[in-house]
Structure formats: structure tokens, C-alpha cells
């Protein structure tokens, strides 16, 4: 009588209470020993399966912090100050060489351009002064003074309302 598949599996899984009897049978039965060996090979192969590496980190969704106001590192702040100082020094050194060259720059074209711009501006102002608003239909009930009074009243109410709303924050 040979061992069953169940007995062999349970023996290799260490889930049997009949270890001694099974081992006794295996020592005298080549066929069952061979079957056990085949099953053991499968176990070894399954256990030898190598672990694979991920192509991306799964921790990213948990390590991303909410964006904070960017703060420059201290060394960058120092570098910026140094750059500003060097630029200022460069301007001071370059000034005596550049100032004599300024009168030589052709400025007539600039004057013409400014003059043309001024002419266009004046023309536009003239056109604007001639513009007339279309006649508004008169509303018999409302006069301008009563409209202004109503507007002033609403403004006062708006200021008072806001004042009341913001009273607590002002304290």
C-alpha cells in the first residue's frame, strides 16, 4: 500500500501527525520516495523564485508634502547679495567711460518720435472734446438730486454694515 498524495503533501508541509509512520514507509518504498523527491523538487523550485524590483516607488503619494512657500537656501541669498554688490561696482567703474559717449548719441530721431506721439495725443484729445453724449430720455419721476441722495444713503448704509461685520476683527 503506497502513500497518498495527501500524505506526501502534508508530510512536506509539516502538517501531519503521522511523520514516523510515513518515514518508515519511505525508507522501504522506492516508488513513494521518488514521488516525494519529485514533490520536493517542486517546493525547491517555487522557493527559488527570485524577487523582482519595482520600476517606480510606491511611496511617492505618501511623501509628497503640500507645497510650501519656496525659501531660498542661505547660500543662494548670500550669492544674490554678492552679485548685486559686484553689479553696482561694475556700474561705478564703467560710468566715467560711458558718460562722455552719451552726448554723441543721435537724439534727433527720438525727438521726432516724441513730437509725433504728442501730435497724435493732442488730436485724440481734440476728438474727445468734440464727443457729445447721446441725449438721455428723461425720467419724469426721478430727478438727479434725488438719485444722488439715494446713492449717498446706500453708501452710508454699506459702510455702516461693513463696519458692523468687521467690528470683531478690528479688536
Amino acid at each position: 500500500m503506497h502513500l497518498t498524495e495527501e500524505q506526501l503533501n502534508e508530510y512536506l508541509d509539516n502538517e501531519t501527525a503521522e511523520r514516523a509512520q510515513i518515514e518508515l514507509h519511505l525508507s522501504s518504498c522506492d516508488k513513494c520516495a521518488a514521488r516525494l523527491s519529485t514533490l520536493q523538487n517542486l517546493f525547491t523550485e517555487l522557493d527559488s523564485l527570485p524577487e523582482l524590483e519595482l520600476t517606480k516607488s510606491l511611496a511617492a503619494p505618501f511623501t509628497l508634502r503640500p507645497s510650501l512657500p519656496a525659501q531660498l537656501p542661505k547660500f543662494l541669498t548670500l550669492t544674490a547679495s554678492l552679485q548685486a554688490a559686484v553689479a553696482l561696482a561694475a556700474i561705478i567703474i564703467a560710468a566715467p567711460f560711458v558718460i562722455p559717449l552719451i552726448p554723441a548719441i543721435e537724439t534727433s530721431s527720438l525727438t521726432t518720435l516724441l513730437f509725433e506721439a504728442q501730435s497724435q495725443w493732442t488730436a485724440w484729445l481734440d476728438m474727445l472734446s468734440q464727443f457729445q453724449m447721446p441725449a438721455m430720455p428723461e425720467i419724469p419721476i426721478l430727478e438727479m438730486s434725488s438719485l444722488l441722495m439715494a446713492l449717498a444713503g446706500v453708501s452710508v448704509l454699506w459702510v455702516l454694515g461693513n463696519g458692523l461685520l468687521l467690528r470683531n476683527q478690528m479688536k
Binding site: N9, L39, L54, T55, L58, F62, P66
Partner: protein, 181 residues
């Protein structure tokens, strides 16, 4: 500065603030490879396995308050992964059946013989050809070293089913892997 233990990280992660999320990120870094490998053994598709492994950690973070701090985090998260993969495979039952049919005809398989020449890949392909319930039992027994009873409890099936699934799965695997070329 000493490295924080898993327990320290879990306690910090449970606070739910930005530092807690970062602490959980550290846990993810520690266990992401093993969780991904559970998913990959179960699904045999890298992209899908990575997505599901990510899902495992997101779910674990949301349910961290239910985790018993006295237990080890690694085995727990790997069991969560195996269960999630099983649910995923069961949800795709139709596809799996189609895959089984495809496996029956070697000429229809997309993987070339060259790709499968590595033994590891052959084992993975053999695992992937198993029905979902067989696959999860093999995963829990061989890679997570759980006892028959623990497996029965984990996936809520009778002990007799654990044994029959496992023994049949091994029979199929042996036939596929030890068949003469």
C-alpha cells in the same frame, strides 16, 4: 539617530497629518518590493501588479486604525495584498477563463519561447495559469509560509478546500514544470 521601528512609524502614521503620511511613506519604502512581488506572482503582469500594490498601501493607510499594533506589519500587508489580488482576479473571472483557454493552445500565447526560457519566468507563467483560488493558496503557503488553518481563516474557506486547492495546484504545477520538452 536610531531607525524608527515599524511600530513607531505606524503610531505616527495613525495621526493622519503630513508627518503621519511621511511616516507611512517610510513603511511603504520598506515593504513595497515584497508587496509588489506578491501581486506579481498572483497577476503575472507588471503594470497591473504595480497598480494593485499601490492600491494595497492606499487601502492599508485608510484602514490603519484597524491594524493590531501588536502584530507584525510585513506579514499583514502581504496578506492584504494576496486578498486584494484574489478579489481582483475573481472580478476578472471571464478574462481568466479566456486566459486558460489561451494557455491550452501554445501557438496562441503572446510570450515567445525565448521569453520563457528563464526558469523563473516558466514558474511564474505556470503559477499564472492556475485558477485564482489555487494561486492564492500557493502564495500563502509557499511565499507567506502560513499553515493550512491560517490560510483557511485568511481567505474564509474550509480547511478541506485549502488542502484540495493546494494539492491540485501542486499537481498542475508539477505537470507544467516537469513535463518533458
Amino acid at each position: 539617530m536610531t531607525t524608527p521601528t515599524d511600530r513607531d512609524l505606524i503610531l505616527r502614521a495613525r495621526r493622519g497629518d503630513a508627518e503621519g503620511r511621511e511616516a507611512f511613506g517610510e513603511l511603504v519604502t520598506r515593504y513595497q518590493t515584497s508587496v509588489f512581488n506578491v501581486c506579481y506572482r498572483m497577476l503575472h503582469e507588471r503594470g497591473e501588479a504595480e497598480d494593485l500594490a499601490q492600491e494595497v498601501f492606499i487601502r492599508a493607510y485608510d484602514r490603519l486604525h484597524t491594524f493590531d499594533i501588536e502584530r507584525e506589519f510585513g506579514p499583514w500587508i502581504r496578506r492584504v495584498a494576496a486578498n486584494l489580488c484574489l478579489n481582483h482576479l475573481e472580478g476578472q473571472k471571464v478574462t481568466t477563463e479566456l486566459d486558460d483557454e489561451r494557455d491550452a493552445d501554445p501557438t496562441q500565447r503572446p510570450e515567445s519561447v525565448v521569453e520563457l526560457k528563464e526558469r523563473g519566468e516558466q514558474i511564474r507563467a505556470a503559477l499564472a495559469s492556475l485558477p485564482a483560488h489555487y494561486r492564492v493558496v500557493v502564495e500563502l503557503r509557499h511565499y507567506q509560509e502560513m499553515s493550512y488553518e491560517e490560510i483557511a481563516e485568511e481567505i474564509k474557506i474550509p480547511l478541506s478546500d485549502v488542502k484540495s486547492h493546494l494539492f491540485r495546484a501542486r499537481k498542475i504545477l508539477a505537470e507544467k514544470l516537469h513535463a518533458p520538452d
